[in-house]
């Protein structure tokens, strides 16, 4: 077990810089998820920590040791790959034992450990089989087994769940979380799936184009996204972002809609262009007739275009009539509400659920 520290990490491929000096401190035993769209540099970062990619600039420390020049095997790490990377021509027993190859242990002790790990991961019946005879989930467990048998300082997971089907993914996700709770080791996990990030992480690192956008606990990044990118990326469906401007009296006017009071707007110069963010879960859908009371917060009228039932609730896509043409807004509604495409409705949201971003920079405006 160990801390991992990343200082001004830079990766260059010839002239192209793909990672622009990122900084990250990971505590001992912490589960950190790097998340972002493809090409954001998350996998490159992980591979640099593993020692599979050269470091163009900056430092990686595992514990208090700079590991820049160390070979992967000298870094005391274990890695699980997206396509499992288990050796297809060896039995499961052999595969797991490969993690112990370099360990100086008596054969009996090695055997005991291999069987213990297999027991933990419910792989005991398959020890004599070849990987080809196993399902995807079992193969991924073999890969995890090969990693945990080494008892490394840091576990690195590179999109380990992407090749599994939805049900198995949820199950394996749970197993990884349990594993972390049991072993208490430091884990760095890379994924492009924000749901995985939210469910697994102690802290989430959101990356884009080789920059870190925000670091925080799942609740922090969900409730207080640092910018519009994080706001859109975290949470499903994406946060609605509506253009507007600060009014002369320190309120907020959405383009083509009435002014609303927003505490954060007071700090901004009148006329500043802003984006108002509101999550689908925070929007209430009311049929037109009932919505006459003037509650504080957001009020928006629109027409239902598509309804997607999800079971307990449904997603409602609306065309909100704003000045700059119509804008699509997504809201969540109770399935008991009968909504049909074409219905005129009013959307409301409480003032404390609203987020405010600077339109130019995309940065959140502090409340």
């Amino acid at each position: 077990m160990a801390t991992v520290t990343i200082r001004n990490l830079v990766k260059r491929y010839r002239e192209a810089e793909v990672l622009h000096g990122i900084n990250l401190d990971i505590a001992d035993g912490e589960f950190v998820v790097l998340v972002g769209p493809s090409g954001c540099g998350k996998s490159t970062t992980l591979r640099m920590i593993a020692g599979l990619e050269d470091i163009s600039g900056g430092e990686v420390l595992i514990g208090d040791r700079v590991v820049n020049q160390l070979e992967p095997k000298e870094r005391n790490i274990a890695m699980v790959f997206q396509n499992y990377a288990i050796y297809p021509h060896m039995t499961i027993y052999k595969n797991i034992s490969f993690g112990l190859r370099t360990a100086r242990l008596p054969a009996a002790e090695k055997d005991r450990r291999i069987r213990a790990v297999a027991e933990q991961l419910e792989l005991t019946p398959y020890l004599d089989r070849k990987p080809g005879q196993l399902s995807g989930g079992q193969r991924q467990r073999v890969a995890i087994g090969r990693a945990i048998i080494r008892d490394p300082a840091v576990f690195l997971f590179d999109e380990p769940l992407s090749n599994l089907d939805a049900q198995l993914r949820a199950q394996t996700r749970l197993e990884i979380k349990k594993l972390h709770q049991r072993l208490g080791s430091t884990i760095i996990f890379v994924t492009h799936d924000q749901v995985e990030a939210m469910t697994l992480a102690d802290r989430i690192v959101i990356m884009r184009d080789g920059h870190i956008q925000q670091i925080g606990t799942p609740t922090e990044v969900y409730d207080h996204p640092a910018n519009t990118f994080v706001a859109r990326f975290i949470g499903s469906p994406s946060m609605n972002l509506l253009p507007g401007a600060v009014t002369a009296d320190g309120g907020l006017a959405l383009d083509g809609n009435g002014p609303i009071a927003h505490p954060a707007a007071r700090g901004l110069a009148p006329g500043s262009r802003v984006l108002l963010g509101v999550r689908a879960d925070d929007l209430r859908v009311q049929s037109h007739t009932g919505a006459t009371d003037k509650a504080p917060g957001l009020q928006l009228s629109g027409r239902v275009s598509v309804v997607e039932p999800l079971g307990p609730d449904m997603l409602v896509y609306l065309d909100a009539g704003l000045d700059a043409g119509t804008q699509q807004v997504i809201a969540k509604a109770d399935t008991r509400q009968t909504l049909r495409p074409g219905d005129e409705v009013t959307l409301t949201a409480a003032p404390e659920t609203l987020h405010l971003f600077d339109e130019q920079s995309g940065k959140a405006v502090a409340v």
Partner: protein, 281 residues
């Protein structure tokens, strides 16, 4: 509709088989003629070369002559040693070079690959005189070592070319997993990569093996000595300028086919997989 399509497939299938069968007959015909004539008496070979041996014409005199010549077993052993040793070195060095080319990024990687593949296009026989001079200078004339060296050089370009393509297809995550597990580059090569490109190795083995076994040129020039003669060269003793002992020549050639055939059968199980590996995945 489906009947029409079935007929279409059937016609195509017949056409394909006809083409393949024709090719097989053409390819096997010389071998067939050699084998049947090797068990016929001398007169019948010339009277009716295409006739099958009958009770009257059946004659093993060729084989008797060949086996009675005590050296034949020696020639056989020489061929075997030269072929197996060359094959071993071609596969070992070829695979190692291919691994380096496919696995490591270094300056001049592409140029090095092209340079190593160049030998496919330039026949090694063009350098015969230089090779002979070299062998004379190093005192290797009339040794099996000379042949092994030449054949290893001859086989390497194709081996490197084919194997590096296959090794590029071995998942890099697999090799990286090995690196993280603490394997050395040699262990990764021998324990992970080589077993996974075994079909390609078999393909290369067969393509390398046959020209070496059949070669007459280099044994004739570099190792004509009695003690190091190979089987193809050894068979030539029965071909004279004026008189040729056809029974013996044909018997010797028939016998020479056997070991290649055995080796081919051993490798062929992998060979088919190797050739179709890219196609069907």
């Amino acid at each position: 509709m489906s009947i029409a399509r079935n007929q279409g497939t059937l016609t195509r299938s017949i056409a394909a088989h006809a083409a393949l069968l024709t090719w097989t007959v053409i390819a096997l015909f010389p071998v067939f003629v050699i084998v049947i004539n090797s068990v016929k008496s001398r007169r019948v070979i010339f009277a009716d070369p295409l006739a099958l041996p009958t009770a009257e014409t059946f004659d093993l005199v060729g084989y008797q002559t060949v086996l009675a010549q005590g050296d034949f077993l020696l020639y056989f052993t020489n061929s075997m040693i030269v072929t197996m040793a060359s094959l071993f070195f071609v596969l070992l060095f070829g695979a190692m070079a291919a691994f380096a080319l496919s696995e490591y990024r270094f300056r001049g990687n592409l140029l090095m690959g092209l340079y190593l593949a160049l030998g496919i296009m330039i026949p090694i026989r063009l350098g015969t005189v230089a090779i002979l001079q070299m062998m004379v200078a190093t005192g290797l004339v009339n040794t099996r070592t000379a042949l092994v060296l030449v054949y290893t050089a001859q086989g390497l370009p194709l081996a490197i070319f084919i194997l590096s393509e296959f090794m590029r297809n071995v998942s890099s995550d697999l090799k990286n997993a090995g690196r993280i597990d603490g394997l050395s580059e040699y262990t990764i090569f021998f324990r992970l990569v080589l077993p996974l490109v075994r079909p390609a190795m078999a393909t290369v083995a067969v393509f390398t093996l046959i020209p070496i076994w059949n070669d007459l040129w280099f044994p004739l020039i570099l190792a004509p000595g009695e003690s190091v003669k190979t089987i193809t060269l050894g068979s030539q003793v029965f071909i004279g300028q004026f008189v040729t002992n056809w029974n013996a020549v044909l018997a010797a050639l028939s016998l020479a086919i056997v070991p290649v055939l055995v080796l081919y059968l051993i490798f062929s199980r992998h060979l088919i997989r190797g050739i179709t590996a890219g196609a069907v995945k």
